[in-house]
């Protein structure tokens, strides 16, 4: 029960109006709140009861008001009564429609919920966002760039010797006319270095293209994410520290190792492995008996790359890394065929939403 609306014995018109408005507002609320016929009847008696109903009080007081105020007060009283009566009737109908109290408390609670469709991000997006989150803690922001690129941004500026076997790993899709589809996200390194003065700490996600036939383990378009860190005095120690920290966060506290590698745009270059999660380093089919699984390529940015982007390579140094979120998604979710990531079968995408 609610507290009663206090109405003085001899109210002014303003007081009368104010209390009446409060009462009808409360009454409407109470009616709407009634969960079943019994509760609604109790509320009816409280507000509209013939003898003790709260509205009855206002009808009595009506006669005690100054004469000139009575017509308006009367109109208001009638309006309030009509409003309450309407609200009561509306709720009565609603409750009738419910039948009994089955909506508020269904008899069989094991029956299924009424669901909406659930949305979901693509697994590759989830991997990218997780990587992004870890690098944000270390002060990295996001840079992106075009997928259709010039030969210079994709190769020349990144220290690829022309006509060299190093190009064989970048089997390129060329566009009719000018340009090509970038084979890696590294052109965005150059664009970023040309646009912003160091210090630079960016993460570069994006789609890249290779002239690889679409089969269970290759796709001609896939996602890459790379990082670039350039400032005075940035060293191989910073590279190792940041990437080791990343790997520990992303893969759990598994041992990591760096081994020599080659990329035209970094020197020294290093590939990073994490201990095989399947065999725990003992050697198995997944890790080709080595006990290690490759996760990313990295290295100190080659001075020629800095010079191509107009950066003083004596004053500044730094590192970069790149990895494939698609490959990570595949191993993480145990997806047997890379094409599943592209097919867009709702039965796959809905699994992610569960």
């Amino acid at each position: 029960m609610t507290t009663s609306v206090m109405l003085p014995d001899n109210p002014t018109l303003d007081e009368y109006k104010k209390r009446l408005a409060e009462l009808s507002e409360r009454g409407v609320t109470e009616f709407a709140r009634a969960a079943n016929a019994d509760e609604l009847e109790a509320a009816r008696i409280e507000f509209l009861g013939d003898q003790r109903g709260k509205l009855r009080e206002f009808q009595i007081v009506l006669g005690k008001l100054p004469k000139e105020a009575r017509p308006e007060a009367g109109r208001l009283f009638n309006a309030a009564k009509a409003r309450l009566t309407d609200a009561l009737e509306l709720r009565r109908q609603e409750i009738a429609k419910l039948g009994d109290d089955s909506t508020t408390r269904p008899a069989d609670l094991t029956m299924p919920a009424r669901r909406s469709w659930r949305g979901a991000k693509h697994p590759v997006t989830l991997v990218i966002e997780e990587i992004e989150g870890i690098f944000r803690e270390l002060g990295f922001t996001i840079a992106i760039g075009p997928e259709a690129e010039t030969e210079w941004y994709n190769f020349g500026a990144l220290n690829f010797p022309p006509n060299h076997p190093a190009m064989d790993l970048h089997d390129t899709l060329y566009l009719s006319g000018e340009g090509l589809l970038r084979t890696h996200t590294s052109p965005v390194q150059i664009r970023t270095l040309q646009r912003y003065a160091p210090p630079i700490r960016v993460l570069i996600p994006g789609r890249v293209y290779r002239r690889d036939f679409f089969d269970p383990s290759h796709a001609p378009a896939f996602e890459q994410i790379e990082g670039l860190c350039i400032d005075e005095g940035i060293s191989f120690v910073d590279l190792k520290a940041t990437l080791t920290r990343f790997a520990n966060r992303f893969f759990g506290q598994r041992p990591t190792r760096f081994r020599p590698s080659f990329f035209p745009f970094t020197e020294p270059s290093a590939e990073m492995d994490v201990q095989c999660g399947v065999c725990g380093g003992q050697g198995c089919g997944v890790c080709k008996q080595t006990g290690w699984v490759e996760i990313l390529g990295s290295g100190m940015v080659h001075p020629a790359v800095l010079e191509a982007a107009g950066v003083d390579s004596e004053r500044y140094s730094g590192w970069a890394f790149g990895m494939g979120p698609g490959r990570i998604a595949i191993s993480r979710y145990g997806i047997p065929d890379i094409r599943i990531l592209y097919d867009s079968d709702v039965r796959f995408l809905e699994q992610i939403s569960e």
């Binding site: 789609r207 796709a219 081994r259 867009s344």
Partner: protein, 814 residues
């Protein structure tokens, strides 16, 4: 590249097991992808423990044993070896094993006793001639462990992933140099019996010379950096000795004959490809290095006739090509059983030309692989000497005349100064000058400490990858070991680059769509396309998907069809990705969001009425598409910034910002089965992707950070007064659309109008033709008081009068 463990051991002494050697090479030099034991025939053999051994009741020399082979039960095995002893470990062949000699082990009875497998002697395993007894294993291994794991038997092949900048590693010599530095042992070429023939000193010429009666000429500079030739007469072509066959087998190369095998051996040992021509098949007593003539033909060793272009280099006799330089010899002058004299070629061909020829012929060989990456011209004399001696050792014969050496010489490399301070800057740790110099010297550099800060370095001729100081710093890092550097997080400065606004926008739109229950896709962006209006891929993977998409709905439609073909008809897919239009230079690239909906609005529920009408009401329609469009438009351009203009034909709405078209809402026509529900699509541009050059090569164009503006809607007070509502049921001529009526209502309803909701539409029945009935609920609210009935009435009158006057819209009589 394949190397043999035993071959490496012949070049440099080391104790490491194959697995340890793999780790050593991987951590310092290049990644070893695979370790292949060459005795895979021993793979089924396991370590087993003899638990009991007793005399065979019916035999003097047989034993009946119980063997634990790790299977969880003891096996009865009969054994004839005198040395079998309970408690000891032996190699064991379980039933089903095929032994190296072809014998298949089966369960059988030997003089009344069952035998389930065989305990093996060294000879039975092909590990030697000893068959006096079974091989006792003094190792600590559990029964059931594969025998090959505990006993390195036979050779092991290492598959090394040599990076394209390190051609010096494409030989056993090159890998051995790196191992030698790691284990601190010298590299020496293994002695080969009989390989000590005296060879006269080669005569060096600039372009043309003569050896053994053959004219050797290089017709044009730039075709070959060095060309050496020697004539050997009196050879007998035949099979190679066993050791040579084994060596080649270990690296996956098939034995052909003693002469060819000798050249292959040197290729794998020193990294120098060589070629032997049958001298009697060369016409005109001449060998010429020249450009091919366009259209000239040659049948190569693989039996294929190839047509040459004038960009290619050939080795010709006086008349015609006898080899494609650096790639493959010709069948005409192939060394055969009847060959008795040969001309041996040891050359260093131009990398770029070899690469171009290899690509255009589609013919890659061990030789072309090395020439493309660069073969050290200074290697040629030693390689020639080694090959000649090996041929003479295995095929007999003698060198006729001094070999000829066409070589203009190379300029000596300049010494590189390496600053110790720079090593510290790049690597982040102090490596003293002495240590720097000694690490470099270990792998063949001539390094001299010149001062505390400077080490002066001469690069060995085989290290063509080392050209700048940074290349030497990499050497220091890997030779010292990447593990030796700390990995502590050091202080850093915050970066200058703000988050890319387009990335933030994409994320916002993605979150909104996922929140609305849509599924994100990331399909392939290639489409069927057309010759105009699309960007074409010049070298597409498939001709039926040779174009880049211009809109995402194209891709999503195909994905919807993919799902429909799998009986999936309730779809709500979206993608955020790049789209492309042809432009002057690079394509015009835009980031778009596309969304496709069809089928049910939500999963079915047991409370749902079972009626067609309800099913229809639960199916996605144009209004859902409009809501989706409003959602993405509000996220991307701000609430109300995009106007929805009626589109033409299958376009429902064109989305515009001002006069600019930024997107579309449309009904999609799919290749769909009959049961499929209608599909609707939304496509919206999230902005142009800038692909112009930021600055010319070698320059920058710094500018300040641009941050995406944060959109804020100011606070509006939560209403404290009750609202008053008014329903307007209107008779609207067909020519007047609802939006117009709504705008007219807003025009005169006054400031207190809080919201306006269209809640009913119908026509027919009592509604006169040419009109329809539309009903709106208007909600008014005064911030400080309740609106009186009179005030509401006044508003109703105003609105109705205005609608009638301007639009001929009247209230519907009830």
């Amino acid at each position: 590249m394949n190397v043999s463990y035993e071959w490496l051991r012949a070049l440099v002494p080391f104790r490491e097991t194959p697995a340890k050697l793999r780790d050593l090479i991987t951590s310092r030099v290049a990644t070893v992808d695979e370790l292949v034991p060459l005795r895979q025939d021993l793979a089924p053999i396991v370590v087993a423990r003899v638990v009991e051994a007793g005399r065979h009741p019916d035999s003097d020399h047989l034993w009946v044993t119980k063997v634990d082979a790790g299977t969880g039960e003891l096996l009865d095995v009969v054994c004839g070896a005198p040395n079998v002893e309970a408690g000891k470990l032996y190699p064991f062949a379980p039933t089903g094993t095929t032994m190296p000699n072809g014998l298949k082990i089966e369960r059988r009875r030997i003089r009344g006793q069952t035998s389930n497998g065989m305990l093996c002697s060294p000879r039975e395993l092909g590990l030697g001639e000893d068959h006096e007894g079974i091989l006792e294993l003094s190792v600590d291994a559990a029964p059931g462990t594969p025998f090959l794991k505990v006993m390195p038997a036979g050779d092991t092949k290492l598959v090394i992933d040599v990076s394209p900048n390190r051609p010096d590693l494409l030989s056993h010599l090159g890998v051995a140099r790196e191992i030698a530095a790691a284990v601190d042992s010298p590299v020496t070429l293994p002695r080969i019996d009989g390989a000590d023939a005296a060879i006269p000193t080669a005569s060096r010429v600039r372009a043309e010379g003569r050896t053994g009666g053959v004219d050797v000429r290089v017709q044009e500079e730039g075709l070959v950096r060095r060309y050496m030739a020697a004539v050997i007469r009196g050879i007998r072509v035949g099979p190679s000795p066993e050791w040579l066959v084994r060596r080649l087998e270990a690296v996956g190369s098939r034995s052909i004959n003693n002469v060819v095998d000798a050249t292959n051996y040197v290729l794998h040992e020193l990294g120098q490809p060589t070629h032997a021509f049958d001298l009697q098949r060369l016409g005109g007593g001449a060998i010429v290095v020249r450009r091919a003539r366009a259209g000239e033909r040659i049948v190569t060793l693989d039996g294929i006739e190839r047509t040459l272009a004038d960009t290619m280099t050939v080795i010709a006799d006086a008349q015609r090509p006898q080899a494609v330089a650096g790639i493959m010899g010709g069948r005409d002058s192939e060394v055969s059983e009847s060959t008795t004299e040969i001309l041996l070629e040891v050359a260093s061909f131009d990398p770029a030309r070899t690469r171009a020829t290899r690509r255009s012929l589609g013919l890659s060989t061990d030789a072309s692989y090395r020439f493309e990456r660069g073969v050290d011209p200074l290697l040629a004399p030693a390689a020639l000497e080694r090959t000649v001696r090996l041929i003479v050792a295995v095929a007999g014969g003698r060198v006729d005349d001094a070999p000829v050496d066409v070589y203009a010489g190379d300029s000596l490399p300049m010494p590189l100064p390496l600053r110790v301070s720079r090593v510290r800057t790049i690597l982040g740790d102090v490596v003293p000058a002495d240590e720097v110099a000694s690490l470099l010297r270990g792998v063949g550099f001539d390094a001299r400490v010149e001062s505390n800060d400077v080490v002066r370095v001469m690069t060995p001729s085989w290290r063509i990858d080392v050209q700048r100081e940074i290349d030497l710093i990499e050497e220091v890092a890997r030779l010292r070991g990447y593990d030796s550097f700390p990995d502590e997080i050091r202080p850093f400065r915050a970066g200058n680059v703000p988050d890319d606004p387009q990335w933030l926008l994409a994320r916002r739109v993605r979150d909104a769509l996922v929140g609305a229950g849509l599924l994100e896709t990331r399909p392939m962006p290639f489409v069927r396309g057309a010759d105009t209006g699309y960007v074409r891929v010049a070298n597409p993977l498939a001709e039926n998907e040779a174009f880049l998409r211009r809109d995402i709905l194209d891709t999503l439609s195909r994905r919807a069809e993919y799902n429909l073909a799998r009986m999936q008809g309730d779809l709500r897919l979206f993608e955020i990705g790049a789209t492309f239009l042809p432009d002057e230079s690079l394509p015009h690239e835009e980031l778009h969001v596309g969304a496709l909906i069809m089928g049910r609005r939500r999963p079915p529920h047991f409370t749902d009425p079972k009626s067609d009408e309800f099913d229809r009401a639960m199916t996605f329609d144009a209004w859902d598409a409009k809501a989706l469009a409003e959602l993405v438009c509000d996220q991307a351009y701000g609430p109300g910034a995009v106007s929805f203009v009626a589109g033409s034909s299958d376009e429902l709405w064109e989305l515009r910002v001002g006069e600019r078209r930024v997107g579309i809402v449309r009904a999609l026509s799919l290749d769909a089965p009959v049961w499929a529900k209608p599909a609707f699509g939304v496509e919206l541009s999230l902005g142009i992707v800038d692909s112009t050059n930021v600055a010319p090569a070698g320059q920058h164009a710094y500018r300040g950070a641009e941050y995406a503006p944060v959109r804020v809607k100011p606070f509006r007070a939560i209403p404290s007064q009750p609202a008053s509502t008014m329903d307007l049921a209107l008779l609207v001529p067909q020519s007047v659309d609802a939006g117009t009526v709504e705008r007219a209502i807003r025009d005169v309803a006054g400031d207190l109008l809080e919201s306006i909701l269209l809640f009913d539409e119908h026509s027919g029945g009592k509604i006169e033709t040419g009109s329809r009935s539309l009903a709106w609920r208007l909600t008014f609210r005064h911030p400080e008081r309740t609106l009186s009935a009179k005030e509401m009435e006044g508003r109703r009158t105003n609105v109705l009068r205005h609608l009638e006057k301007t639009l001929n819209v009247r209230p519907r009589s009830t």
